[in-house]
């Protein structure tokens, strides 16, 4: 009876697995965080497949064995109240399964919230990722540059994305590098990720934020530290500065394509509730007591220049620092070379 449906499903899933989708993005991780999640997912699928198997075997056996057409006409099913032992079994075993999964969940959640194991001693590269309708702004405070709708990162270096939004809640998601997290107008969220393989990875906003949500995709290009340094220097020499008026225009334009600037918007429009010391403090638009208290605890530095980071990424002490900036403009860097792998 119902087997027809189940067979069809099995058949379909096989077809799906074997044909078109040989690479399932989420299960094709290119960084430690995404790898932890991929392993967690595969582990839970295996556990759940076991549960499904038990239910399906009992289901098929009972359906085949006790169908009315097979039993005698005068067969009278017995009255059964239940069975303590059986019920104890199907309470205990699920509790054990849930306990195992809980441990896995707590561990893996803790792991992906922190800097990935093996990368703790490196200073993370801080990038502010903010969304506005309907685009992504990436500000690199250390380098003093900003991009729109594309993100370049060095491989094998922990990246600390600080997420917030100039409008509706969005969610930044680069499935091959890490899980997603919300960007909101009221607070800054931190997303830790590392790319351990060079390549181009699709990132997007996964949380519905209005008409342009479907178009809020961006390319994440993981490049060697050397190439990355070169790119940063190019941007600093060739791209124009981002001033407040231009930023306001940018915010109110729905679709802008890629943009590159040699300064960030953080100086005149800082992240909400931000009290990291290297930032300049201006009055919060969304004033609340907590923010004001934070400001009291972390007063504006007398000379903001003092606390500024140098622009040199602290990647690998053995690797030579990036040399003189290249002559090419930023636009000429080949973003497509890594595509289609």
């Amino acid at each position: 009876m119902k087997k027809r449906g189940s067979l069809l499903v099995l058949f379909m899933s096989l077809v799906l697995l074997l044909s078109g989708c040989s690479s399932i993005t989420v299960l094709d991780p290119k960084g430690p965080a995404a790898r932890t999640l991929s392993d967690t997912i595969l582990f839970s699928i295996a556990m759940m497949a076991g549960v499904l198997l038990v239910v399906y075997v009992l289901y098929v056996v009972f359906l085949v064995k006790y169908r009315g057409s097979k039993t005698k006409d005068d067969y009278m099913p017995p009255h059964e109240e239940g069975n303590k032992w059986l019920e104890a079994i199907w309470i205990t075993i699920p509790i054990i399964i849930v306990a195992v999964l809980s441990v896995v969940t707590v561990q893996s959640t803790g792991a992906v919230e922190k800097v990935a194991a093996g990368y703790e001693d490196q200073k993370p590269l801080v990038i502010y990722a903010s969304s506005s309708n309907w685009k992504w702004h990436f500000s690199y405070p250390e380098e003093g540059i900003e991009t729109v709708n594309y993100l370049n990162i060095p491989v094998n270096r922990p990246i600390e994305l600080r997420l917030y939004s100039f409008g509706p809640i969005t969610s930044l998601w680069i499935p091959q590098l890490a899980g997603q997290k919300y960007a909101m107008s009221d607070m800054v969220n931190t997303l830790n990720l590392v790319a351990d393989e060079q390549g181009s990875y699709l990132g997007r906003n996964s949380n519905f934020s209005g008409q342009g949500t479907a178009h809020m995709e961006f390319e994440t290009l993981a490049m060697s530290p050397k190439e990355y340094g070169k790119w940063v220097d190019e941007v600093k020499t060739t791209a124009s500065k981002l001033d407040e008026t231009e930023f306001k225009t940018l915010l109110s334009t729905s679709y802008v394509g890629r943009k590159t600037f040699s300064s960030t918007h953080l100086s005149f429009s800082p992240a909400p509730g931000d009290h990291s010391d290297h930032m300049k403090h201006t009055d919060m638009e969304n004033g609340n007591k907590e923010h004001q208290e934070n400001k009291a605890e972390h007063p504006v530095p007398a000379n903001p220049e003092e606390t500024k980071f140098d622009a040199i990424p602290n990647v690998n002490p053995n690797e030579p620092l990036p040399q003189s900036p290249a002559e090419d403009s930023t636009e000429d860097i080949d973003h497509t070379s890594h595509k289609g792998k």
Partner: protein, 647 residues
């Protein structure tokens, strides 16, 4: 406001909808006038306080809403069937998935469940009606008002477009300037009050109106599930009431709860919404479990296995349902500790749910299974719902959810829970109790055809979405490029949706066919069932039972049939019934005007209709209605007629 802002314009589909609304309205009015049915409609239906008729009206409304929500779903699947499709634009697509969610959950699933509760619960406990019949009519008309208000938004003013969860700041006036989300707050508020009153009504009915001998632990499982659902309603809906009120204040009166300035907090909305929203899932799923328990026991010819653990597991689920809301936004950045807590509470729900699955399986063991249409839906439920359940456990793992959240994987999961869980259940219940209400069965052959179409197409539609999610396709995307590779699976899904639609067409045709051709029954117990509702005749007389039943154990009718324990050992006495009232439907109408005026911030009509609401309520308070009394002779006559005996 200009007229072209008032009516939604510029889309052929909208004009089509307007034209069909006008045509259908004219057709109904002309038809009623031509067949002289206005009086009948008013006397027998619109003013009724009879729980069975109110139940039928709930179910009819739910079926209409199923059609509306289904059309939304078809449009969504059609739009995403191929990459870069131009069938709908972004705004339109956003409105459609928003109303699809709202209508299916609040105006289809819940009223369908409440409709079945209305028809069945008083019968199962041997009561004459619900505790407060007139309040019950008010509940229905408030629900109906809310449903109509939301549907009206499609052609007047524009539908809500921020998703059914209406996250702020997206749903604020700044980012959603149309009146769509005003409709959202008012339509849900009005129908929500109705639902809250239903919850209170059924708690009192079940706790205080049971027939002699119907102890709590003798109640049929569907009644148990209705009781627990009503308790969840009573405690969850006030939270929605507050959330919607704050939303309305933000949008219409300029308050600052969820805004981006002056201290507003967008995350507060998400919390309030899901504190109601997750229990809401159990409000629609627990009665479904109850329906399956009745049907599986009946068609296995066995009593329900593990009755006590079934009850306990529902109580545990209802308690846990209030402790899991944050799993809807693990990605909001509340840290690993909080996420860990909510992961564990969420996964814990799988334990009592698993208990229920095994109890159903063991009810069938050693049984004598017959494959009727309601049983087929119940049997399909077990394997399909288990997929929904195990993927739910996977989603409950906070870390993994960082990869599933907002994707088609999630969409596949909750459709795998809600369609086999709730939709199959209400269809199964519809087929199962149809002969009780109308006195004839739905055609089995057509019913089984519809079942196979629906069950198989459901899997074809939603199984591919699991893979689309893992490939990175997010929900609520009106379009995608061909390079993403999402195309083929979406096309398969669309094909499945067509199959589902065809299945539902057969189902509706079956209703028509059976009304015309199905043989009428005189027995009252066509399925050889076990519980009290089958002990009275079908269709059911207004007073339900001529003699108040005397219950001596679980499965009262079954023991009456097999152990020779008579249920009706009393004498026929005159029966007191409440009389009909037109005031509930008038109250609904006034609420409609009030809601509509507030949507557009028309203050004077809003104030006038607000005062009118108070006047109607006051006039109800002054009513001195003593009901009607049915005499012994009348009862005897009705009983004879129902048994098919000629007078």
């Amino acid at each position: 406001m200009k007229w072209d802002e008032f009516f939604v314009t510029g889309e052929p589909m909208i004009y089509g909808a307007m034209a069909s609304i006008v045509l259908v309205t004219i057709a109904i009015i002309v038809g009623l006038t031509y067949f002289k049915k206005w009086g009948y409609l008013w006397r027998e239906w619109l003013t009724t306080v009879d729980h069975k008729r109110i139940g039928v009206m709930y179910i009819i409304s739910a079926l209409i809403m199923l059609f509306r929500g289904g059309v939304d779903a078809m449009l969504m699947r059609a739009q995403t069937a191929v990459p870069e499709n131009k069938l709908l634009d972004a705004q339109h697509y956003n409105e459609i998935f928003t109303t699809h969610g709202l209508i299916m959950i609040l105006f289809m699933a819940m009223p369908f469940i409440i409709g079945i509760m209305n028809v069945v619960v008083p019968l199962q406990i041997g009561a004459r009606d619900v505790a407060f019949p007139r309040l019950n009519a008010i509940s229905f008309w408030l629900f109906f008002t809310g449903a109509m208000l939301l549907n009206l938004s499609f052609v007047i003013g524009g539908s809500p477009d921020a998703g059914w969860s209406a996250y702020f700041p997206l749903a604020s006036l700044e980012f959603s300037p149309t009146v769509g989300n005003n409709y959202y707050s008012l339509a849900l508020q009005i129908s929500g009050i109705g639902t809250l009153l239903t919850g209170i009504n059924f708690i009192v009915t079940i706790l205080k109106m049971r027939a002699p001998g119907m102890k709590l632990m003798r109640m049929p499982m569907f009644t148990w599930s209705s009781l627990i659902t009503s308790v969840i309603i009573a405690f969850a809906f006030p939270v929605l009431t507050v959330a919607l009120a704050l939303m309305m204040f933000d949008r219409i009166f300029g308050s600052q709860f969820f805004t981006m300035s002056n201290g507003g907090m967008d995350m507060l909305w998400a919390n309030l919404f899901w504190v109601w929203g997750h229990p809401e899932v159990y409000i629609v799923i627990l009665p479904a479990f109850g329906i399956y328990s009745e049907i599986i026991a009946t068609f296995s010819k066995k009593n329900l296995y593990g009755y006590t653990s079934m009850v306990v597991s529902m109580v545990v689920i209802s308690l846990l349902s209030f402790l899991v809301w944050a799993h809807h936004f693990y990605t909001m950045g509340q840290g690993a500790m909080v996420n860990g807590f909510f992961s564990i509470t969420t996964m814990a729900i799988s334990v009592p749910t698993g208990v229920k699955i095994f109890n159903w399986l063991f009810t069938m063991r050693k049984g004598k299974i017959t494959f009727t249409t309601p049983m087929l839906y119940s049997l399909a439920f077990i394997p399909i719902f288990t997929i929904g359940g195990v993927t739910g456990v996977m989603l409950a793992m906070a870390s993994a959810d960082y990869q599933y959240h907002n994707t088609m994987f999630l969409v596949a999961h909750f459709h795998y829970v809600l369609i086999p869980g709730t939709v199959f259940a209400v269809i199964a219940g519809f087929h199962y109790w149809f002969p009780k209400v109308f006195g004839f069965k739905l055609n089995e052959r057509l019913g089984k055809h519809a079942f196979w179409w629906i069950a198989i197409s459901f899997n074809v539609t939603f199984f591919p979405l699991f893979f689309l999610g893992l490939q990175g396709m997010t929900r609520r995307m009106y379009t995608y490029s061909a390079e993403t590779g999402f195309g083929p699976l979406n096309l398969i899904s669309f094909a499945g949706a067509l199959g589902l639609a065809f299945g539902f067409i057969i189902l509706v045709y079956n209703i028509y066919y059976s009304i015309r051709y199905s043989p009428r029954e005189t027995d009252g117990d066509p399925w050889d069932a076990r519980t009290l509702e089958w002990a009275t005749s079908s269709p059911i007389p207004a007073y339900n039972f001529a003699v108040t039943p005397n219950v001596k154990g679980r499965d009262a009718l079954w023991s009456a049939k097999h152990d020779n324990q008579p249920i009706f050992d009393g004498k026929i006495e005159p029966i007191h019934l409440p009389s009909n009232s037109g005031k509930p439907v008038i109250l609904g109408g006034v609420f409609f005007v009030f809601g509509f005026a507030l949507v557009f911030s028309w203050w004077i009509p809003a104030i006038i209709s607000g005062i009118a609401i108070l006047i109607v309520l006051a006039s109800m308070s002054f009513d001195r209605d003593h009901g009607i009394t049915v005499s012994v002779e009348e009862i005897m006559e009705t009983e004879k007629k129902l048994r098919g005996e000629t007078l």
